[in-house]
Amino acid sequence: MKLEGVRPSNFSGIPLMIAIFSLVLILGAMELSYWWMWTVGWILIFASWGVLVKIENKTLVLKYAFGLLPIKLKGDDIDEILILNRVERGILLRHFPIIGIAYIEALVYASCRYFTFPENLLPGYYLGTLGIIVMSSSVLLSMAVPIGKTRHKLLATVAISIAGAFLLWLKTRKAEMIPMIAVLAMITLWTVYDIDNEDYIVLRTKKGKYLLTSNAPRDKVEKAIKAIMEVLSDD
């Protein structure tokens, strides 16, 4: 039985390793200008995303890599189910700290690039680097603050975007880049809002934690949670 509207996340296990590796490839491609690295990096990013969750014989099957990589979680191996967005202080980074390391890695890389860039490059170079800084720091902050504090997170994202615009101005001294920063800020705000308004189901096993996400309507999420509960329960 397929769980409608629920997707496995790449915050742990092999999918996380693939995501981190793809990030290294993408950043490496930016550095070395190898297009094959860029392409492989993006293919691997998509491959690290989960596509579906289904239940087969009291086992949850999480499918990744365009459906080619199944991760099986037997019901009796699961010690805990936690609906992260329903606890009072649900913090994504507390449960999945390694994903934070990936974002910190991107943030450190982009910051080093920004400060070592010479002054006379095309504005696109600075914009790309600042895009990574603004996006990764906003997402990192969003995952470090309890779910549900959307207003605070959006305000912090606005502040980060303003700081990004200032850093861009320091390098380019051109006002025509402001609309680009505004577009970047809108995309980041939407991303932060989306992260904070998803449903997060954490499954804890002896081998580690797994995250299922959903932005489906409430009734579908409830149905999926009930189906998982049946997997965990005694016959």
Binding site: G75, D79, E80, V87, E88, R89, I91, M229, D234
Partner: protein
């Protein structure tokens, strides 16, 4: 109220207090496989009990832990939304509490089971709500 069978409860309690499966097996003079099977059954029974309880009272599950035997749910009390904290207590069964009305014996239980490190109500709620 649901109670685990006596021998299963003993094994589950030893594990929940932090003993390893092999230590439990040696302690009780049974095989490690028997301990593992018993723990899996105990966990499934506890999940079943917590989910049934939530369904009976129309509570919304927030968190259910079969290893340490506790549940957090969202419920209604006198028309007001409230938190429900339920614990499986060996030899007693499940005990549920609303809001922060958590008695001293639950703090002691949570301490023994390694849910918290000191018997403090705020620490317990923090542990359950994060």
């Amino acid at each position: 109220m649901i109670r685990l069978p006596e021998s299963m409860e003993r094994i589950w309690t030893m594990r929940a207090k932090g003993m390893r499966e092999i230590e439990i097996a040696e302690n009780l003079g049974i095989s490690r496989q028997a301990v593992n099977k018993s723990l899996k059954e105990a966990k499934a029974k506890l999940f079943e009990a917590f989910f049934s309880l939530a369904e009976t009272f129309s509570w919304e599950i927030v968190r259910a832990n079969g290893e340490k035997g506790f549940m957090v749910a969202r419920g209604k009390c006198g028309g007001k939304a409230t938190r429900v904290y339920a614990f499986y207590i060996p030899e007693k069964g499940i005990r549920a509490f609303f809001g922060n009305e958590i008695p001293e014996f639950i703090l002691q239980h949570a301490l023994e089971f390694g849910i918290i490190k000191k018997p403090d109500k705020r620490e317990l709620i923090n542990a359950l709500e994060s």
